[in-house]
Subunit: 260 residues, 3 copies
């Protein structure tokens, strides 16, 4: 196990506490290009963490919205023509004004044109790419592993957030493993998408992308764990995670954070 540059458990928990406090104080605006299935839940997760979501895709408007935001999420689910155009405009805007942005290459394993777009976007250097095992395999051609994730991060000069039973976060030099979250979270649509939006929010208030990513995964995972313990199924989990994220505080984060 690696414990490189300051991502020990205690420092990670403290980072999560600090970043959550900054979200509540600064209330960053996060522009989300996300799939239509995920929009409502994603907006509610951002609001529950104190952030201000916006979601428009209109080519006439998206420039202004991105310019007025502190971070951008690009999620490839339900990738229609308008979303494709919106992505290009938004990413050009974000790169031009050095806005942090997250790429979530949803279902990149299911359609070739989507994979092509994902490769192109990674070439524009998102701050973080958040993806699951199937998506990692489809995108990199390699079996997901800590080493493969580090190599991919290094090669593309990005932070990789690889979701799984244990989440792996790496910038190619440093690596952290996050054990928060609950299996029931996989039974609700848009759970990962909303987590990526929260990650964009954390990047808005923390310049070190690996710290922001660890914090986001810890915050979201802890809220999910506490929520799952109170839930009778995925429906109530979706409600309870919003409530628990809204009520998340320092003692809970410190007690539940699982990072090494």
């Amino acid at each position: 196990m690696h414990h490189p540059t300051g991502v020990s458990r205690d420092s990670a928990a403290q980072t999560a506490v600090d970043i959550l406090a900054r979200l509540h104080t600064r209330r960053p605006r996060v522009h989300c290009i996300t799939n239509s299935v995920a929009q409502n839940f994603t907006a509610n997760i951002l609001l529950a963490a104190g952030c201000v979501p916006s979601m428009t895709l209109s080519p006439e408007e998206i420039g202004s919205f991105v310019a007025g935001a502190q971070a951008l999420l690009v999620n490839l689910g339900t990738l229609d023509a308008e979303r494709r155009k919106a992505i290009t405009t938004a990413v050009v805007g974000a790169v031009g004004s050095r806005l942090p942005w997250v790429l979530d290459p949803v279902f990149v394993d299911r359609a070739e044109p989507r994979a092509a777009l994902a490769h192109e976007l990674i070439g524009r250097r998102p701050s973080v790419v958040r993806l699951n095992h199937s998506e990692f395999l489809a995108l990199t051609g390699n079996k997901p592993s800590p080493d493969a994730a580090m190599a991919y991060a290094r090669k593309n000069k990005i932070v990789v957030g690889l979701s799984g039973e244990t989440d792996i976060v790496t910038d190619g030099e440093r690596i952290a493993r996050i054990g928060n979250g609950h299996p029931l979270m996989a039974n609700i649509t848009a759970m990962g998408c909303a987590g990526s939006a929260l990650l964009a929010a954390c990047l808005a208030v923390e310049p070190d992308a690996i710290r922001a990513t660890i914090a986001a995964l810890v915050i979201f995972g802890v809220a999910g764990e506490i929520a799952a313990a109170k839930s009778t199924g995925p429906g109530s989990l979706a409600v309870n995670i919003v409530d628990n994220l809204y009520n998340l505080d320092e003692p809970k984060l410190a007690a539940y954070a699982k990072v090494d």
Copy 2:
């Protein structure tokens, strides 16, 4: 404080009671052009009040849907190309057949093309413009106040519903202040959008637009207050407001209404 033409507390509470009863009996059809984030929650709020929502944007179909509806909502959130076209067709249809309609100029402070469209739509005389303080400032150039709202309503021959800690409703002559609602409501996406849809529904059953607006804000605010008292956060509030709107009755409305 003004108490003009019949918007005293008791008459306002009674109006809300009457209008809610009419919603349950007449089950008006409300066509909603609303942002994709808000569609599901908006439909559930309308259904909970006994109304029949429809949401299509297709240029081929929207004429028939509006013609078959008793009120129209135009919400500017997520303003893509198709929504722009749909708005024009729907508003022309509504104006032509004297259908009441509500304009909710969401995020008009965030993008110039959106503000331009909002100005144009206000020129077509919606029955009611429902907006918050930032949107009022962006649209009118004036700091939000009862006097500014009255002036804007008079000038444009519309009813203005200005949301805030206290809501202000005015047609330029009469004015009412509504103190219902709960701060937690601001933490759920589409809460205001859904409230504007309920307002469109009230216009479908009450020809006096200021009375319909007061009733809608009281009904929605009371449902939200009762729901907030039972909720542990914004997630459960979103569920509970639907339940409480569905179960709202005359004694609760009469007991909770805060109007002067």
Copy 3:
């Protein structure tokens, strides 16, 4: 009352039990072209039953998604230009590879172009057409009845699932009546749409379309009944039906199934 070829109560309950078990084991991929209002709830219903939903409409991608799926849902709600194109591509793909598919002609009674599309699609022989009384009347010109449903099924060589207080399922020869479900289910948007998606999922694991349809209506109706008993209104019902579908087991299905 008819008891033709093996759709007695006990065999229907057993079919529902078997099909639910197959959903959990095989986890079929179901591609859904559905209205934007219904997408989130539909995805959560499919996930709660163990299935894998996808929802993209992009003309570039939908071919791959349908080819990788085990069933297709075509729902005509919010019928915009992109959805129209997506429907054609997806249905051609489904028919070409003999994928089962469900047509849900939502609001076909509200706009003529939608009715025309529905007729054309029925000519391409969906496995099942699921519709309510108004939609049946608009589509067939006949008052809904068991005999009218049988005639329509026979003529078009489809299975008809006619929703109502009692649901009727027929392939033109066999007929079954399903008494599961709860009136409160009509107060939540997308309830019928999500039920049709679950039906598509059942077709993915059961080649006999009438058995799959009966099973889907029983499974969804039982989950809804149990959920309604725990709910204080439509908001909590929407949450509870997801939980109860997730937790649905053989004894509950066997105890609650109402089929004859």
